[in-house]
Symmetry: C2
Subunit: 142 residues, 2 copies
DNA sequence: TATCAATTTCAAATAATCTTGAAATACCGT
DNA sequence: ACGGTATTTCAAGATTATTTGAAATTGATA
């Protein structure tokens, strides 16, 4: 069978009462009505230990109205910062900050044309927005 | 102190130098190498004005490692808070805060079993995680 | 070379989010 | 009713993210 290291079938003799063995093997007096199969618990543990660094970084980048608008705009066309300045009625320095956040998350990149920087979505950014579409379709929420 | 006061419907040869009319009609001396068609600009404007409230709220909820782990766990099975306490090695009050964030975003709900609260994904939450899958598939980039 | 315009960078101020521990709530079994 | 337990709520502080304006950077032009 699968080798799992932790399960000590014997309940710790911590408190006196409540002989109901905790179905998940931890020190919690959960009632029998709430059963959780050991192999389910294994799968939960597995899910919990997966690395979430990249998705969290991406979601942080997406979690701002200005940045999301920038991404939506870039989906239509590559755009120069000066266009954002006008379209979003936004100072250069503020835009620059948010563009950097998006760039650090790997969602956008730019090319230089003289003094002008033309931003565009990366392939990754485009894929992320694809996923976003799937989400946004149900903005029924709450 | 100099303020470019033009904002007329068409062209407006604002400053003297730079005969290149700004292709997007704004006060910016962008070079001819960067053209942007008026109807493209229209589509960009449209994309920018769309409401982003709901997606931003959802991304904010997703943008935290603990919360993402909670969601991943709930995908496997409905779970009692006490299980999270053990599995995530986390205080009740901290968990409660994050569970509330997820609940306010419409991603999770709970049912009460005596003193125990059993959290589960909402339909919306499940759909969101579906979109997340599409994203996570390319966690290559950086 | 000096100047101008587009953009970034920096530092300080402000705002938002998270953590922590204590206290409150609600339900259960006795 | 009582005592215990699971959970939430609250307020204070700690941490992190964002805005702002000024200064630095860079390329183009005269």
């Amino acid at each position: 069978m699968s080798a799992s290291e932790e399960t000590e079938t014997e309940v710790a003799p911590h408190k006196k009462k409540r002989p109901v063995a905790c179905s998940h093997g931890y020190s919690c007096n959960i009632p029998a009505s709430y059963e959780i199969a050991p192999e389910t618990l294994e799968r939960v543990k597995e899910a919990i230990t997966l690395d979430v660094g990249t998705p969290v970084a991406v979601f942080k980048a997406l979690a701002d109205p200005l940045r999301l608008r920038i991404l939506k705009a870039l989906r239509v066309s590559d755009l120069c910062v000066c266009v954002f300045v006008e379209l979003l009625d936004c100072e250069y320095s503020r835009l620059s900050y948010h563009l950097k956040v998006l760039k650090d998350a790997g969602l956008v990149e730019y090319t230089q044309e003289g003094n002008f920087l033309i931003y565009h979505l990366t392939e990754f950014g485009r894929a992320v927005l694809g996923g976003v579409d799937a989400i946004k379709s149900l903005d029924c929420r709450r």
